[in-house]
Amino acid sequence: MLNVKNVSKTYQGAGQTLTVLNDVNFTVEAGSTVSIVGPSGSGKTTLLGLCAGLDRASLGSVELNNIRLDQLSEDERAQVRNRYVGFIFQNFQLLPTLTALENVMVPLELRGEKNVRARSISLLDKVGLHNRLHHYPAQLSGGEQQRVSLARAFANNPRILFADEPTGNLDVETSDKVIKLLFDLNQEAGTTLIIVTHNLELASQTKRIIRIKGGHIVADENN
């Protein structure tokens, strides 16, 4: 499903080159669940961005669903994201001017699909928000916003779901509910799940944990 080969990422700073990722290699099978863990500044979010096609590697290649992302333009990668990828972010990243329902509808509308509204309502129903359809993000609690984000992420039946610290902004109780929902939906849809997190309890629920430090993979173990 995901094949990361010799990936390095460097940034040009004030007169010096900063290497964030250095020769990273791993493969993720379809349907598996993987956590990427590591301390702050270890490069895990950068790695997630590269895997999801949000950015390009300085060296190496990323293959997602057999598509070489490094050979595509930004607009082509956008199309790949819309077709195969779902996202969950730490700060939810809902569009503030759209209602909960509209936020979920966007990926489906973009694909030009039919019955968008009914399918989106059904997804929001699944995450327990059938009575919050027409609320704007600012009118929802953090947990509710993350559940809308979950519904949106699964709306286009993604082959792979990337989650960046999905519980980072939630309290423990709400985190537990969101994690349960995430894994339930994932199991139901058979999606490949990649989570970047500090939360070892969350990481322990995935089948595999990749530990990263200083831009290198320091451990790759199965749970």
Partner: protein
């Protein structure tokens, strides 16, 4: 899997884009309203002026006949020769004659005297339209009695009533009516010498028609079948030309009036356009901040699969829609303003203007508004294409800097549009480019000042100053600062107001300077040969100096270097300007230079003693250059039918600023002494009372002599300038109010940026007074710097205008400049504080809930 299938092929899905544009704008519409408001006034001014133009054009078309008052008009500035008289008397099915000249009139009731334009009329002219009078019947009845029609302003000025008497020359006329409107005359054209109509058959008995008198004769013809006029004109044109007669037809007048109005209209359109451009800076600023706030949303959309074109289009649709709404609102306001324009411009319009809605003007205004607001909005909008989805993971918005080559294309498009729009108005690429470059220059200077200020404050930041000063200073360069936008908008407004003020000042001081000190301030003209000495004696009796007394002979050019007018017209390679042949020269004769003259080439040859002597004339150097004449060129003058061959012997530089008689052509003595001539006497009166008494004496004793009092000219000029000033102020008002709106919008928009910080300061314990100080200091600094830069720009522009256009010295008065500077700085502070009042007056939490 084949990656080719992911090559970009996605449809744009326009319906969805519209839907997304609508959804995205939901919570920002009040912000977008600010964007609308800055262009509304500019569009309103454009639509109003476009509509006025359309209405005047169609009114000229429909009222052209009443402008002329007849089907054919033939004019002569000299006595009509007996050769052409039979022809003139045979034309038309009905005809009228009018003889026009400047003369003094005397109000017998209160001894008032005034220079007027006497129009002695015979016949039923006007055949189309009316001389509008109060009472209405007076326009017809005065022709049958010893009665006169007197201009409205003159009646008011001398507190005269219908039934009072005026004396013109030796004849006393009863005032039959007050002229409110005469065919084809606008308010301004009658200000210097207001018209007075009398019946023609009393003209001779006034005793004003004497040898050398400058009298114009106009023949008005009505044709029962106006279609024949064109063929008649082509038959008689060569004869008219030979006799030096001009003609005017309805079609000709349509063209000339249209042309004169177009100049005026172009000027108004360009002023409106400046208001629109100023509004567009507001647009660019508002959209810039709007797009900054949208970066997060765009990044999310990009994550979800929206491509760069779709993201760009979502916002483009919003901008175009809002630009369209703004333009439509502007057009509606423009229609309202248009109703008022005929009243504002009444003194400058040649016809009675209707206020019909012009759909063409509305469409032009709306299209211009949408295009230009879009172009300016594109500057920040092109950045949308570069927003990476990565910002969803790392949203470091403050550090985002876009360098997009497409921006240069947008800048080029803006310049091209501005130049193109200007060309559309004035049809002259050179002037259009100068106009565009001037505006660009002002923008650049103000932008550079703003950038320099930011750099200087950052580079030499006063770290040792207390916190409030430092915070106020720091606001000038910190992220989301308003330094650039406020300095450009306020600066342009200040430059505009300053330039208007300085021009008015230059024009007025140019005249008042001439009248100060021991400079002459009264000119007596039309003095006959026989009256020359006794007028001088009378002047001295009133203890007034005879500062100059010169003879004047009127003549025309017949040939230049053996080329006649007809030859020059048919062969343009000669380089002589045809205007030289059309001009009626007022020439004097003497063998010396006056104090206002300086020889620049050749020499004065002295008196002509025998008929074989070559007559060397002296010509004003600038005029000689204009008509391509040089030393040694041969010119034959026609003095009332007598041809006088001359050679250009010298060129003189003339200071036209002095109130004294100055001449383009000076003859030597010994040539023109016997030619029909009149004399001019120049003197200085010490007070208005002496002036009035002296004028009364002159008018009573020498009714044919006309007097121009410089004080009167000053008053008239003041009135004219006041009227022009009102029009300029009215039009500049659009720019100034737009500038204020942009200022308010910029400050309001920045309020959203600054509010969290101010609240944080308040939460940390900053007092209301401290926040007030920081805010006031920032705005005062911006306002003061912008005002100073704008005023300096306006001084530069005014200096250039004074030097190159008005040929006048530029000595600005400092007090009004200081007042303007203080007013603009203070206004900026007031608006800044007014917009920040919610932060100052309400508890932090309440503001946070409401505004953030």
């Amino acid at each position: 899997m084949d990656i080719a299938r992911f090559k970009y092929k996605r449809k744009l899905r326009f319906g969805w884009l519209l839907k997304m544009a609508w959804r995205d704008s939901r919570r920002n519409r009040s912000r977008l309203f600010l964007f609308i408001s800055s262009i509304v006034l500019g569009i309103a001014a454009l639509v109003a002026i476009f509509s006025l133009g359309d209405n005047v054009r169609s009114d000229i078309e429909s009222q052209a006949k009443t402008l002329v008052g007849a089907d054919l008009v033939i004019e002569s500035n000299k006595r009509v020769s007996s050769r052409i008289k039979p022809l003139l008397d045979s034309l038309g099915d009905q005809r009228s004659v009018e003889r026009t000249f400047a003369s003094m009139i005397y109000f017998t009731k209160n001894d008032g005297t005034r220079l007027v334009q006497v129009r002695a009329l015979d016949g039923d002219y006007p055949y189309y339209g009316n001389i509008e009078t109060t009472p209405a019947r007076a326009a017809r009845s005065f022709r049958k009695a010893r009665q006169a029609l007197v201009d409205k302003t003159l009646m008011l000025q001398y507190n005269a009533q219908v039934g009072d008497s005026i004396q013109i020359g030796d004849v006393t006329f009863a005032i039959a009516g007050v002229i409110t409107k005469a065919p084809g005359r606008t308010g301004i054209s009658t200000t210097v010498a207001p018209p007075v109509y009398i019946p023609l058959h009393y003209l001779d008995s006034t005793g004003l028609i004497q040898k050398g008198s400058r009298i114009a004769t106009t023949y008005y013809y009505k044709y029962n079948q106006p279609a024949v006029i064109e063929s008649i004109i082509s038959d008689i044109e060569p004869r008219l030309e030979k006799e030096g007669l001009d003609y005017d037809t309805v079609e000709e007048r349509k063209r000339n009036t249209g042309r004169a109005f177009e100049d005026f209209n172009q000027f108004l359109t360009l002023i409106s356009f400046i208001a629109l451009l100023l509004g567009c800076i507001g647009v660019a600023s508002a959209i810039h901040i709007y797009m900054r706030e949208k970066i997060a949303s765009i990044a999310i959309l990009r994550c979800l699969g929206v491509n760069s074109s779709q993201a760009f289009l979502i916002y483009l649709i919003q901008i175009v829609t809002i630009g369209l709404i703004g333009s439509i609102l502007g057009a509606v306001l423009g229609i309202v303003i248009q109703q008022q324009l005929p009243a504002v411009f009444k003194d400058f319009l040649p016809v009675q203007v209707t206020t019909t809605i012009s759909w063409k003007a509305i469409t032009q205004g709306i299209i211009s508004g949408v295009v230009i607001s879009l172009l300016f909005a594109l500057l920040p909008l092109v950045n949308v294409r570069n927003i990476s989805p990565l910002y969803t993971l790392r949203l470091a918005v403050e550090q985002i800097r876009f360098r997009d080559p497409l921006k240069w294309l947008v800048y080029a498009a803006i310049l091209f549009f501005v130049a193109g729009f200007t060309w559309w108005q004035i049809h002259n690429w050179r002037q259009a480019i100068i106009f565009t470059l001037s505006i660009l220059g002002a923008f650049l200077v103000l932008s550079l000042v703003a950038l320099l200020l930011r750099w200087l404050v950052r580079r030499f930041f006063p770290n040792s100053w207390n916190y409030l000063w430092r915070q106020g200073f720091a606001n000038l360069y910190r992220p989301n600062n308003q330094t650039l936008i406020l300095i450009v908008t306020i600066g342009l407004g200040a430059a505009f107001i300053g330039t208007l003020y300085f021009i008015q000042d230059i024009l007025i001081s140019r005249v008042t300077l001439s009248g100060s000190g021991n400079q002459p301030n009264m000119v007596l003209f039309d003095i006959q040969n026989s009256q020359k000495d006794s007028v001088a004696v009378l002047t001295k009796q009133y203890k007034l100096p005879v500062m100059q007394q010169v003879p004047i002979v009127t003549m025309r050019v017949e040939e230049i270097n053996h080329q006649t007018s007809a030859q020059v017209k048919s062969d343009t390679s000669t380089g002589y300007r045809t205007e030289a042949y059309e001009w009626e020269f007022r020439v004097t004769y003497r063998d010396t230079l006056t104090s206002s003259e300086k020889l620049t080439a050749g020499k004065l040859y002295g008196p002509v003693r025998s008929s074989d002597d070559v007559i060397y004339i002296s010509m004003e150097d600038r005029y000689a250059k204009r008509i391509h004449v040089n030393i040694g060129d041969h010119i034959i003058f026609n003095v009332q039918g007598t041809l006088i061959p001359t050679v250009v012997g010298s060129l003189r530089q003339v200071d036209w600023q002095r109130v004294q008689t100055n001449f383009r052509v000076v003859f030597p003595t010994g040539v023109l002494e016997e030619a029909p001539q009149f004399h001019v006497l120049v003197t200085r009166v010490p007070s208005p009372e002496v002036s009035a008494r002296f004028q009364q004496a002159i008018v009573r004793k020498y009714p044919n002599v006309s007097v121009i009092d410089l004080n009167l000219i000053l008053t008239v000029l003041d009135e004219v300038l006041d009227k022009i000033g009102f029009v300029i102020r009215f039009m500049a008002g659009f720019s100034i109010i737009t500038g204020l709106i942009v200022l308010i919008a910029s400050v309001l928009i920045s309020k959203f940026q600054r509010i969290q910080e101010s609240i944080l300061l308040r939460t940390l314990g900053a007092s209301r007074k401290q926040i007030l100080f920081i805010t006031a200091f920032e705005y005062f600094f911006l306002g003061a710097l912008a005002a100073a830069t704008g005023i300096l720009l306006s001084m530069g522009a005014s200096w250039a205008l004074a030097k190159y256009s008005f040929n006048a010295p530029f000595t600005p008065h400092w007090l009004p400049i200081l007042i303007l500077f203080a007013a603009i700085s203070l206004l900026t502070v007031i608006i800044g504080l007014f917009n920040s009042r919610s932060v100052l007056n309400k508890p932090p939490l309440e503001v946070l809930r409401k505004e953030v």
